[in-house]
């Protein structure tokens, strides 16, 4: 999840027939008969035509949450992203309507919950959260006197 959205910029999907799509979801739409997110074809188009062509430029207009209504004033903007493909698939509009967007509802709830946890700053919860980030055993991160007793063999 990021802004600008990854589709076409950090991700690209090459189909067996040479068609190039902005993401896997874009290719799935094409399999259902809608080739809106086909950005070119490796046999017919040059690199520049694919990656600087009209289709990807259109997608990019809806890829930055700073310029999307609802996201533009959202407090969680920097932690969230944009998804023109999801909004096209669910709302028939790459721009999307935040009021009815499940993308917005889901991410808002998750980010809101994370901030609630951070604000509460409960020792165990924070340590577990950080242990996930660093891929460490949260028990090892615990500060405790027992550890000192073990090291000094004074237990």
């Amino acid at each position: 999840m990021e802004s600008p959205a990854g589709a076409g910029f950090n991700v690209v999907v090459y189909n067996y027939d040479g068609d190039v799509y902005a993401s896997d979801e874009s290719r799935m739409l094409a399999e259902m008969g809608d080739k809106t997110f086909k950005i070119g074809n490796v046999i017919l188009n040059s690199y520049n035509e694919i990656f600087f062509g009209e289709n990807l430029q259109t997608i990019s207009k809806f890829s930055c949450n700073e310029s999307l209504l609802g996201c533009d004033t959202c407090v969680y903007q920097t932690f969230c992203g944009a998804d023109p493909i999801y909004h096209y698939a669910t709302q028939k509009d790459m721009y999307g309507n935040r009021a009815t967007s499940e993308f917005c509802k889901k991410n808002y709830l998750i980010i809101n919950h994370l901030f609630k946890i951070i604000k509460e700053n409960d020792d165990d919860t924070m340590r577990i959260l950080l242990s996930w980030i660093y891929d460490e055993d949260h028990e090892n991160l615990k500060l405790n006197y027992k550890k000192w007793q073990q090291i000094t063999q004074l237990d």
Binding site: M126, L143, W148, L154
Partner: protein, 391 residues
């Protein structure tokens, strides 16, 4: 009163017959007189009559005689009223002919040897234990070069301190290169405010020496320039230190961050931890250090002293933050009885042997063996809460 165990490093003579500064190795164990290298050795004797044991006494680099002597030897310094018994075989010492001061600059049996580079500094910290002097002490570079030449066994660790070592610029780089060549296995730990590292060329030259066992310990006292610059009494110091830390990291120089804990630094301590976590994930070590009652600390005591018990909450929170984010953290110079037991694993015996003491109260403590103890300078001023721990 508690006993003072500190080791003496200086003594003063009364008469010297030579004019030039001398650096040499102490010879006071005479069991193997064949091993004497005259140009390096400084003979140390208590009585004039002992001189008779030696032939060629004129050839010694210098002779230190504890008792007064009227002998007219060119290399003799005599009349040490405060004694010479602290000098051990193979200690490296300097003799200043004018002040007659004999200073021990290297002790092979110690693990705390530190090269003192200069008394000059570009900062003037409120709690400086070694207040800077604006004098020409460039002769010390020659002492250091000679000293490094006289060390036989590679030390496990070697400190570099000052003043501000980086003030020496090319001379310091010369010393660092020499250490890397002569003692590739030695851990070299330099105390510097890092401000000169803001100059890219200095950081680059030090990085290019390529000593993987070299680390610079840089103090940072706050996450905001106002507080840091006030504590170090120098404008723009914060910006220069921050740039210095980044330049050092860019040039693969290992960095330790040092925070001295006192009344001026405690209020922003936890914020400083956040700042370090977000900006310097590459630092190898963060040291949180108790005050040493030396130098300016004596004068600024009331503006600096805060009992470690009174900042226990901030210290615990800071260590938690750093430790949870996988930083290596240590507590220096704080007695175990003054810190939260959960933090004991972070406590180190950080005080150099020659100035490390324990109080009478400590005699009955079960954890004395693991405690940093106190600086000898803290004997009269220390926390009233020091108490023997029972396990």
């Amino acid at each position: 009163m508690a006993a003072n165990y500190s080791i003496r490093l200086t003594t003063i003579g009364s008469v010297s017959n030579f004019q030039i500064r001398k650096v040499g190795k102490v010879l006071c164990d005479f069991s193997d007189t064949d091993q004497i290298t005259f140009e390096e050795n400084i003979l140390v004797l208590k009585k004039e009559s002992d001189l008779k044991k030696f032939k060629n006494i004129n050839k010694f680099h210098a002779i230190i005689l504890e008792e007064n002597s009227s002998l007219n030897l060119e290399n003799l310094i005599s009349g040490f009223n405060s004694g010479v018994s602290h000098l051990n075989n193979n200690d490296i010492i300097t003799i200043d002919p004018r002040s007659k001061l004999v200073r021990t600059i290297y002790r092979p049996q110690s693990k705390n040897n530190t090269i003192f580079t200069t008394e000059r500094c570009n900062s003037n910290c409120l709690m400086c234990s070694q207040p800077p002097k604006d004098i020409d002490d460039s002769y010390m570079v020659n002492d250091i070069v000679k000293m490094l030449g006289l060390i036989d066994e590679p030390p496990e660790t070697l400190g570099i301190t000052g003043g501000e070592p980086l003030i020496l610029k090319q001379d310091l780089i010369k010393i660092l290169k020499l250490i890397k060549e002569k003692f590739p296995s030695t851990y070299v730990h330099m105390l510097s405010n890092g401000r000169y590292l803001a100059y890219k060329d200095i950081a680059e030259e030090i990085g290019n020496i390529g000593n993987k066992k070299f680390m610079i310990a840089i103090p940072l006292y706050a996450d905001v320039p106002e507080v840091h610059d006030y504590i170090v009494q120098a404008k723009n110091a914060f910006d220069q230190t921050i740039n210095g830390i980044y330049n050092a990291n860019k040039n693969n120089i290992s960095i330790e961050i040092r925070i001295v804990l006192h009344k001026q630094s405690i209020p922003r301590l936890t914020k400083l931890a956040d700042y370090i976590i977000s900006n310097f994930p590459f630092v190898k070590h963060v040291a949180l250090m108790g005050l040493e009652n030396m130098g300016y600390v004596k004068k600024n005591w009331n503006d600096l002293w805060i009992d470690p018990l009174d900042y226990s909450k901030e210290l615990t929170e800071t260590i938690k933050k750093l430790h949870y984010n996988l930083f290596h953290v240590s507590i220096y110079n704080l007695q175990l009885c003054l810190i939260n037991k959960d933090l004991w694993t972070f406590s180190r015996q950080s005080i150099s042997d020659y100035k490390n003491i324990y109080l009478d109260e400590c005699k009955n403590c079960d954890v004395k063996k693991y405690c940093s103890g106190l600086f000898s300078s803290s004997i009269l001023r220390h926390s009233k809460n020091i108490n023997a721990q029972k396990i």
